[in-house]
């Protein structure tokens, strides 16, 4: 009986203030179907999902649940109606245990409202074992690694026996085996006749999972098809709305001058001082060069960036020179003043002050340039320069004075990058510059990175997308357990070589090339 869709949305419209972001969207999901929702950031995917999960109760249009008109006034309404959502942002309570998080809002209640912790614990053990999640139910959620937390979120959603499960970019924090086990669970959901909405930017996931693909662009559905009738190239041009030239940085020519030289960098573990998360890493970056750092989670790659930037303080030892002069990896403020700038991986927690305006977020690192005596900010000069840089980044915002939280993910990322660039960096440390942003914004960022290289900015790049790393980096250092295990050049690097080294496969180290 494939007739009745689990969920049908008809003519959904939604506005924020004066801006309409969804212009009459129709979407149907059948039981046992994985429906992939594709589109650029800011296209309206997350808004649509938030309407479906009761986060936004004020919209116009119709929502049919197995044929019955429904309207959710809050997220728990939607959860009770069998719609489980795994949002991009984590919704775990960090200070509560894994088991308490699993049963949050649906506790096992005995007489007099007593919570049966024993039963919850037993059930939690079973759920964790089923998911192959290696953690104890009595651990605090904040003690788990990022990937485990994401997995826990998924376990929690699936434990509710929902008839529709919505995944909003679930794999952005997962390693490949973890992602594969998630896909297996999604296959199982399909077999049970449940409906799945899956949002992702990753091509291979779309074609691995989708039964049907709907593409949102600027708040409207611009196409829907089965994957066999929508080849990748057609999908991309549907998403972007124009034919996208292959996103590749122009051929770069580092001119050899060393900008940053890091020697014997060590970083102690955050809580266990005797353990090293980075253990004797040395490298150089030249003018206009893009140095890629590769490594799986826990390899220490991200710590290398933060340590060089001075963000890890006392935990860092080692020495560095910048243009031949000693450079103390002491504090972010010290580094920014000397033109060493970091783009942090997580724009919401590490990148932006959400209520500050776009303008003030972008100028934050370079206020020294706009300040006269007593730190008096020259606001005209500031606005002009920020405006120029916003145009260069093709930043889309209602106005420069709008709070930055109103921007879409890709535009928030551009704002973070614009801030870094406005600080006139000599060394740019980029931690996942394209995480969770759409194809169009990615292409913009690749193009800009080419420009920066041409201007002589030295860059150190971390990205979890190997294709991106291969396309952009002149050299790639692979880290495994805090050490450099392989140094590859643009010509010799390959996905297999990087992954093999990152997983600790070959220990035949040729670090010599790294220096």
């Amino acid at each position: 009986m494939p007739s009745e869709p689990t969920v049908a949305m008809r003519g959904i419209r939604k506005s924020f203030g004066l801006v309409e972001v969804l212009h009459g969207v129709d979407l149907e999901v059948l039981p046992g179907e994985v429906h992939v929702l594709a589109g650029e950031n800011g296209a309206g995917k997350s808004t649509l999902v938030k309407i479906l999960s009761g986060v936004y109760p004020d919209y116009s249009g119709e929502l049919l649940l197995e044929g019955r008109p429904t309207r959710f006034s809050n997220p728990s309404d939607a959860a009770r109606a069998g719609i489980a959502t795994i949002h991009q942002e984590f919704s775990l309570v960090p200070t509560m245990s894994v088991a308490d998080n699993l049963f949050l809002g649906r506790e096992v209640i005995r007489r007099f409202g007593r919570v049966d912790f024993g039963a919850q614990m037993a059930e939690a053990y079973r759920l964790l074992a089923d998911a192959h999640l290696e953690c104890r139910p009595d651990q605090l959620a904040e003690e788990l690694a990022l990937a485990s937390r994401q997995m826990l979120e998924i376990v929690r959603a699936l434990a509710r026996n929902s008839r529709l499960v919505v995944f909003d970019e679930p794999t952005s924090a997962l390693s490949e085996p973890e992602a594969e086990s998630l896909f297996a669970r999604i296959d199982a959901l399909k077999r049970q006749g449940r409906a799945v909405i899956y949002i992702t930017h990753r091509m291979e996931e779309i074609y691995r999972l989708a039964d049907r693909i709907s593409v949102l662009r600027d708040g409207s559905i611009v196409g829907a098809a089965t994957p066999d009738r929508l080849p990748p190239a057609a999908l991309v041009s549907l998403i972007v709305g124009r034919d996208l030239a292959a996103a590749r940085a122009p051929e770069l020519r580092p001119d050899g001058d060393t900008v940053l030289d890091v020697r014997d960098l060590r970083v102690a573990h955050a809580s266990v001082a005797s353990r090293a998360v980075v253990d004797g890493v040395s490298f150089t970056v030249g003018r206009g060069e893009i140095l890629g750092l590769a490594g799986l989670q826990g390899s220490g790659a991200s710590e290398v960036l933060h340590a060089v930037f001075g963000a890890l303080g006392e935990r860092t030892t080692g020495s560095a020179t910048l243009h031949g002069a000693p450079f103390a990896m002491r504090s972010p403020q010290h580094s920014v003043e000397r033109g060493v700038v970091l783009l942090a991986s997580d724009r919401t927690t590490l990148g932006l002050a959400p209520d500050m305006s776009v303008l003030h977020n972008i100028s934050l690192s370079s206020l020294g340039r706009f300040s006269a005596r007593f730190g008096w900010v020259q606001r005209k000069a500031e606005r002009e320069l920020v405006l120029v840089s916003a145009r260069r980044f093709a930043l889309k915002a209602p106005s420069l004075d709008a709070p930055v939280r109103l921007l879409s993910g890709g535009n928030q990322q551009k704002a973070c990058l614009a801030r870094c660039l406005l600080a006139e960096p000599r060394v740019l440390l980029l931690d996942e510059p394209t995480r969770g942003i759409d194809v169009g914004a990615k292409a913009d960022i690749y193009r800009l990175m080419g420009d920066w290289a041409q201007r002589g900015i030295a860059m150190v790049l971390i990205t979890s997308e190997l294709d991106e790393l291969l396309a952009l980096a002149d050299r790639i250092l692979v880290l495994h357990r805090g050490r450099i295990v392989s140094a590859l050049h643009r010509e010799t690097a390959s996905k297999d070589a990087i992954l093999g080294a990152a997983m600790g496969q070959s220990q035949s180290v040729h670090v010599g090339g790294a220096a």
Partner: protein, 337 residues
Amino acid sequence: MMAELRTSAREWWTTPVARALVALGFMLVIGAVFNADGAFFRWSVHRDMLRQVSVFGILACGMTVIIITAGIDLSVSSVMALSAVSFAWLMLPHGWPAVLAVPVVLAAGTALGTLSGSLVARMRIQPFIVTLAMMVFARGAAKVVSGGMKITNYVTAADGTSRLVPLPRAFGLIDSRVLGGNLSIVTVVFLVCVLTTGIVLSRLRLGRHLYAVGGNREAARLSGVPVRRTLLAAYALSGLFAAVAGICQAAQETHGDPETGMGYELDAIAMVVIGGTSLSGGRGSVALTLIGVLTIGYLQKILSLNAAPEATRLMLTGAIIICAVLFQRGRREGSQA
């Protein structure tokens, strides 16, 4: 889509300032209706209201700065009391000239604020706890300085003889009026504090840093903002304003009372919050606080004009705080992600 670069006039109404002004306007309408036989239409009533809220308003300026950094300063009333007592102590029994006493008291207030700030910024103790401790400590210090009694111009010398010294001119000056008796000096001081805070928050680099630290401390740090120095400056500024308030308070009361200003910190917080500045930090302005100060000031004035009892005044103030916050939040409902 960068067509419009500034907030358009149509959107202006949804801004917090517009919302706060509506609340204040509402209060004025109430005052015009319950005008106590026309008393509300006399400027002297407004002048007195302004004088009565000035000390609170000065404290609220410092509180605004701290709340924007996502902190809180419970110690303002005690630091004010300590400053009032110290000012009276220096001027009355010791006969210091005002040009010396004022800077010394201001420096002491700033130093206490800096101490709180360094505990918050360097030791990373929660602001609530640090300033709670400072509140108790400064109240104790005020009692030590004053010997537990009011310091008046009835001075007891070392040999046990007592005499009345004339009240220094500075006391009278601070408690006088300008513009033909139409504006109190303390109100002028309050407005100068508002202006200073406004300049710090919206024109100086420090202001940007304050908002950034309150909005997202880690992001601010990674952007190169000197987080600790910024926090230190915020608490130092609040201590400075508390000392200013203390000098005004001593001059108005013509003595230094170690018990003065009990609970004023809560009034200051209420004024900031009614204006629409969020306790979660990173948002707000001193203009909002000014409106909040006036709103509460008018509420109290209207109630006293109409001879409402103290109990009614307290209950209504509580209700107004909640209403104002709900009204301010109505604006954000739709845009919250």
